[in-house]
């Protein structure tokens, strides 16, 4: 798939800055996302290639503007909805509830 993820040879995206003493996770939600991935992967919900491809199927503008672990979250959500493990309605309801609590 010739998508926005295939960045090799692209110009104008800025330098790659190595962060000294980079932590494993920058935010607590990234740690939780990693755990969610391990649990759903071990649970047999998808293989690694399906997981990568679901990232590639993200909206390209969103892909380029979102952090690494958000790509993982998007892939998990997409694949769990597609497999029927959760419904889009359940996911939307949960997000709406979290948004309300955060206000």
């Amino acid at each position: 798939m010739n998508g926005a993820h295939d960045l090799g040879g692209m110009h104008g995206l800025g330098s790659i800055d190595a962060e000294p003493n980079e932590p494993v996770f920058h935010e607590e939600w990234e740690r939780r996302m990693f755990g969610l991935f391990i649990a759903t992967f071990a649970g047999g919900h998808f293989n690694v290639d399906e997981f990568r491809h679901a990232i590639e199927r993200m909206d390209p503008a969103h892909y380029l503007e979102s952090p690494y672990y958000e790509h993982w979250l998007h892939s998990c959500e997409t694949l769990l909805v597609e497999s029927g493990a959760i419904s889009r309605k359940e996911l939307d309801a949960r997000v709406a509830k979290l948004e309300k609590e955060a206000k």
């Binding site: 010739n2 295939d6 649970g43 047999g44 690694v48 290639d49 399906e50 491809h53 590639e56």
Partner: protein, 116 residues
């Protein structure tokens, strides 16, 4: 459905899940052989970057047999095949303005390549 158990976590986090396959499959290429990368533009998942399509390189190392991502991402089976470390010069990939010292190694599956 399998469930993640506490004693599985350490191994999974440390090593991940290997895509190496047990299948006995004959290699299509040997080390030192010149290859040309197929110019394919599949709508499905692939691990073949655009910038290397149609380029020529040299097989440096046979890494063994692995699951083929292009089929495995779509429920079409493992199609296990050899993966090779293939050497490309910077000039082959990026043209005469690239440094003559630049070399890139890419891991490529059998189905991505043809003999020159």
């Amino acid at each position: 459905m399998p469930v993640l158990k506490a004693d599985m976590v350490e191994t999974l986090v440390k090593t991940g899940a290997s895509c190496r396959a047990d299948a006995k499959v004959a290699p299509r290429f040997r080390c030192g052989e010149r290859i040309v990368v197929r110019n394919i533009n599949p709508l499905h998942h692939t691990r073949l970057p655009r910038y290397v399509r149609g380029k020529r390189g040299t097989v440096e190392r046979d890494r063994g047999v692995f699951v083929f991502p292009d089929t495995n991402a779509h429920g079409q089976g493992h199609k296990a095949q050899h993966v090779y470390s293939v050497r490309f010069t910077g000039r082959e990939l990026w043209g005469p303005q690239a440094s003559e010292r630049d070399i890139l190694y890419l891991d490529l599956w059998d189905d991505y390549m043809d003999p020159v």
